[in-house]
């Protein structure tokens, strides 16, 4: 029998052994050395699901919701996992074209094949319901619930602000935010972003090959729970706010109303305004573009960002400073004119007057003289020192500095420093007669309506103010994020305010602002007509009421509207009536204000009919929304 011996056996065993050794080496490499497979396995099975906390809601002071959230769904895609799908059905369900599908897919793939990116944003709850049933058919796609901001009253756009997706710059600066996150961009949404946003949670879930969820990863020990944002209670009175917006429609201007005893901002209006819902969701950037192009600058919050010469309202603080320094007293009177070289400031005819009367009649020469008495007073040694002190007084009223409103983009305004005048006129080359117009609120002064309202609060409080603010409550607790309880005192003592208040009362009762009277309420006010180099004077009125127990202090500024008594005083008065009496009885006045059309003429062109004066629309919050939406629609048509 043939038996070839052991060599074949050795060869055979040798082959087996070599193959096994090759396999072992390969396995060692694949399993122990190469880590990439572990990463792939993780990517296969783990999905990081972000739980977006609900953004906090915002209520007004009466408990009315002014901002809430609406559920929408973002459709996410992981291109690598997308298998053959019925594109036609998919597009039909989402109501998109095939081209758009291809383009979106391409975009997602370019971003990353492995990572999820948003395929379609903000699908409404209704469309999502029908889509959800079919979702299992579309491997690689999943939905992420999101919320969309809604502002049900269509009001207070500038105060509430808006939210938008974070940009790359912000992501680089703040590690919390990630692509696709929303952040408050202006208004309360921005200044209370931290409180409103809550904290994002991440759930790690495992999915099978069909992308079905199979439970949490390692029992959820790596998950973080989303913390809902806190609800805020605003100081705003939504009704008053929206009434004020109505009164200011078709006018450029601003109203700020503050409760003097607390610093709570009751209304902050900047006109023209817009419907805050325009800057929500998918239409945001488009609408933003339209608003940005609007020549009346509806995005501009005039209440805090516009500088105006304060005009006659500044006579009040001017007088207060002089009273405190003993430069004038209640009986001081000045000649009926103020002469500087060849120029002279004159006044309209009125009887010879002391301080109260000067306020009542808004006597320009009186306050120019007061200003000169102060600045050039010998006891300060020089006009420079006099002016420095006078400026300190004004600044203690919150002028020329940020008063710390809990809103973004507050501007500090302008009140020139000694150095400014030194530079401008040369050191020692200026004195009261050079800069006397400051005494009557003209010249190089810039004050925003918020600061004006705050000055009125100080006068109403006889010497101090609380930092004006728009949020009074965070969650269930008082707002302690800012120092809101502290009284900020001026350099003027309380008794001096009585004289000024007397004068202001006379302004309304027998002076320039008789139009502002209503019921038997004791109202203190002051008109202003701020000259302005760009056109017609600004109409200005400041007031507070009732005098004994001030509930509301208000500053109204209507641009290029003429005398303070014509537009600003009636608007302020109507708003005070609305706030204090809850309803307005003076319908004729109300109607006249509502009808008033004071926008620059060029906007009246027929190609822009959206800005036409509305018919005698009754005061309903809705009408304003309609007008701003109509404006946008028109612009769209124009394109």
């Amino acid at each position: 029998m043939y038996n070839p011996g052991s060599s074949q056996r050795i060869v055979f065993l040798g082959i087996i052994t070599s193959v096994v050794i090759i396999f072992l080496i390969r396995l060692f490499y694949v399993q122990v050395i190469n880590e990439s497979y572990s990463v792939s396995a993780t990517n296969n099975v783990l999905r990081y699901i972000t739980d977006y906390p609900a953004r906090g809601m915002i209520y007004d002071r009466k408990g009315k919701i002014v901002a809430f959230n609406q559920a929408v769904y973002d459709l996410m895609v992981i291109p690598k996992q997308v298998k053959e799908i019925d594109t036609l059905e998919f597009c039909k369900l989402l109501d998109i074209s095939k081209e758009s599908f291809i383009e979106k897919m391409k975009k997602a793939t370019t971003f990353s094949r492995m990572k999820a990116s948003t395929f379609e944003k903000q699908i409404s709850a209704e469309s999502f319901a029908s889509f959800q049933e079919k979702l299992y058919k579309f491997q690689g796609f999943y939905v992420q619930p999101r919320t969309l901001r809604k502002y049900p009253n269509n009001t207070a756009a500038h105060v509430l602000g808006y939210i938008g997706e974070v940009n790359d710059e912000l992501i680089a600066k703040n590690p919390y935010y990630r692509i696709g996150d929303y952040i408050g961009i202006s208004g309360i949404e921005q200044s209370y972003e931290l409180e409103l946003r809550g904290r994002r949670g991440v759930r790690i879930v495992m999915v099978d090959v069909f992308n079905r969820e199979k439970g949490s990863y390692k029992g959820g020990i790596y998950d973080t729970i989303a913390i809902a944002g806190q609800n805020l209670v605003a100081t705003l009175d939504a009704d008053l706010q929206s009434y004020g917006e109505q009164l200011l429609q078709n006018k450029i201007g601003s109203v700020v109303a503050i409760e003097p005893q607390t610093g709570e901002i009751l209304a902050m209006i900047s006109s023209p305004s817009y419907d805050p819902n325009l800057l929500v969701g998918r239409v945001r950037s488009k609408n933003y573009g339209y608003l940005l192009k609007d020549e009346n600058k509806p995005l501009f919050n005039r209440a805090m960002q516009a500088y105006y010469p304060p005009g006659s309202t500044f006579k009040l603080t001017n007088a207060l400073a002089a009273l405190q320094e003993g430069i004038i007293n209640i009986n001081t009177s000045y000649p009926h004119s103020f002469v500087v070289g060849s120029k002279s400031v004159k006044c309209h005819p009125h009887p010879a007057i002391a301080l109260e009367g000067a306020i009542q009649y808004s006597c320009n020469p009186y306050f120019c003289n007061t200003f000169r008495s102060f600045i050039d007073n010998r006891k300060y040694g020089s006009s420079e020192n006099g002016y420095r002190l006078w400026r300190e007084y004004q600044m203690s009223f919150g002028v020329g500095k940020k008063i710390g409103v809990d809103m973004p983009h507050e501007l500090k305004g302008l009140i020139p420093s000694v150095e400014f005048y030194d530079k401008y006129y040369g050191k020692g080359h200026w004195k009261a007669s050079t800069i006397y117009s400051l005494g009557i609120g003209q010249g190089e002064l810039g004050i925003n309506p918020m600061q004006m309202a705050n000055i009125i609060c100080i006068i109403a409080n006889k010497g101090y103010y609380y930092t004006p603010h728009v949020i009074k409550q965070i969650g269930k607790h008082p707002n302690t994020t800012r120092n809101l309880a502290e009284r900020h005192y001026t350099k003027v003592s309380a008794e001096n305010f009585n004289i000024i208040q007397d004068g202001m009362q006379r302004v309304v009762e027998a002076g320039t602002a008789r139009v502002a009277r209503f019921d038997s309420l004791v109202i203190c006010g002051k008109t202003g007509t701020a000259q302005n180099p760009h056109g017609k004077d600004h109409s200005l009125f400041v007031a507070f009421a009732p005098r004994d127990n001030p509930k509301i202090a208000i500053a109204v500024m209507v641009e290029n509207a003429g005398f303070g008594a014509t537009w600003a005083a009636p608007i302020a008065s109507l708003m005070m009536e609305k706030y204090l009496k809850d309803s307005v009885k003076r319908h004729d006045l109300e109607e006249r204000m509502l009808k008033g059309y004071l926008l620059p003429l060029q906007n009246k062109s027929p190609e822009n009919p959206g800005l036409k004066v509305k018919d005698n629309t009754p005061v309903k919050p809705k009408s304003k929304k309609d007008s701003s939406v109509a404006l946008l629609n028109n612009k769209k048509k124009k394109k």
């Binding site: 060869v11 065993l13 082959i15 087996i16 193959v19 096994v20 694949v30 990439s36 993780t42 099978d208």
Partner: protein
């Protein structure tokens, strides 16, 4: 010769232990591969692991039955068994339904059987019977041709069933023929042909032919003293060139599209992790993510969440790799290696040529399966769907391997009594 006292007399328990351990390990991994929260019962017959338990039970019965039958039966009836099996393969061709492209199943009610699994056993018996006959010498051309035909017949029939994987297994008998005296040149040439096949696909033909010619010339210059060498060198060079030229044709015209793609994926000529390369890619991810010690029993995410297709059958090795890590895969590989060593050891201790040849056949078949199955799972072999012996889910394959091994155990138990 005398009768055995007991059917367990002289049984090689080492083989039995290997068998039991491998089958149970296989079952554990099938359980893991199919496991889901809804079906935790180990004997749930709607699940593969429940059914595999059934197959294991019946396999034990089959094994026992084989031990009960007189050992002489197998040698005596080798040819009849071979002929009947070939007959069944033919019948399958006629009656089988198309299942995933292959027509290789006999269905009796819900019971399905794959005769090709048993054809390996029958062929092994026939080869052993033929080569162990008196006066048969491997050197004879007649012997080579007859043995070749015995192998090629079932191979062709299985190929006709479109079950390429199972057909390729019959190549394993080359090792048997080699052990029985076939020139080692056949192995070398086979290896060379394989290398040339791969090179021909990777390197442009002209370059390859140039290199072969160059090597031929160098060989000639080194060994030009004898005329014989020159002729051999010429023949080899010509043959090599012939292979190179025919590869393109064979690759593009004979292979089916999916086979072509799988080879291209293996050679890295095609990156298609979602299509043709999906299985291998996911398999590698599963095995690779196992790390040194694995993710633990039932903790493999690739396994649990069905990322690897065919995981309880052809890709069962992934489960081992993912859940037990390198420790597990090395253990299984070494277990198989020891089993093969044991079988070769058993083969060489036989006085009976039939048993020796049969034993080599068993070793060769098991080795071939191991090499292809594991090689495919770790991306070293093209995707050829053949099971991992004793491990993979499937009644036919488990029964087939059980018969293959237990006939050997039975034959071996006669080693003391039979002189030839």
């Amino acid at each position: 010769m005398r009768k055995q006292n007991s059917i367990f007399e002289n049984i090689d328990w080492v083989l039995v232990v290997f068998y039991v351990v491998l089958v149970l390990l296989g079952w554990v991994n099938i359980y893991a591969a199919v496991y889901n929260e809804e079906h935790k019962n180990m004997f749930d017959l709607t699940q593969n692991y429940g059914r595999q338990m059934l197959w294991i039970g019946t396999s034990l019965v089959i094994g026992l039955a084989i031990l009960v039958i007189d050992g002489k039966f197998y040698a005596a009836f080798s040819f009849p068994i071979y002929i009947v099996t070939m007959g069944i393969l033919l019948v399958v061709l006629v009656i089988a339904r198309d299942v995933q492209g292959a027509r290789s199943w006999i269905e009796i009610g819900s019971f399905k059987l794959q005769p090709s699994e048993f054809a390996k056993v029958a062929t092994n018996m026939a080869i052993a019977k033929y080569l162990s006959a008196l006066g048969i010498r491997m050197e004879d051309m007649k012997t080579k041709i007859t043995a070749g035909l015995l192998i090629l017949l079932p191979m062709a029939l299985v190929l006709l069933q479109n079950d390429t994987g199972s057909a390729l297994v019959f190549i394993a008998f080359i090792f048997v023929l080699y052990r029985e005296g076939l020139s080692q040149n056949v192995l070398i040439f086979g290896f060379l042909a394989g290398v040339l096949f791969v090179l021909a696909l990777m390197v442009p033909n002209t370059v390859l032919i140039g290199v072969i010619g160059g090597l031929g010339l160098v060989a000639y210059l080194l060994m030009r003293k004898t005329r014989n060498n020159l002729i051999v060198i010429l023949i080899i060079t010509a043959l090599c060139s012939g292979i190179v030229f025919s590869v393109d044709y064979a690759f593009n015209e004979i292979l089916q599209t999916h086979q072509r793609e799988r080879i291209e994926v293996l050679l890295g000529k095609r990156s298609d992790p979602k299509g043709a390369g999906y299985n291998v890619n996911q398999s590698l991810i599963a095995i690779g993510s196992g790390g040194l010690t694995g993710k633990g029993f039932l903790q493999g995410t690739q396994t649990k969440y069905d990322f690897v297709p065919e995981q309880s059958t052809d890709f069962i090795f992934c489960t081992v790799g993912e859940e037990w890590g390198f420790v597990g895969t090395a253990f299984v590989l070494i277990l198989f290696t020891l089993l093969l060593y044991r079988i070769v050891f058993i083969a060489e201790r036989q006085r009976s040529t039939y048993t020796r040849i049969y034993a080599y056949g068993v070793a060769s078949i098991l080795f071939f399966h191991l090499m292809i199955n594991v090689g495919m799972a770790i991306g070293l072999a093209p995707v050829i769907g053949i099971p991992l012996p004793f491990f993979s889910y499937g009644g036919s394959s488990l029964w087939g391997f059980t018969v293959l091994l237990f006939v050997l155990i039975k034959l071996d138990s006669y080693r003391m009594y039979i002189l030839r």
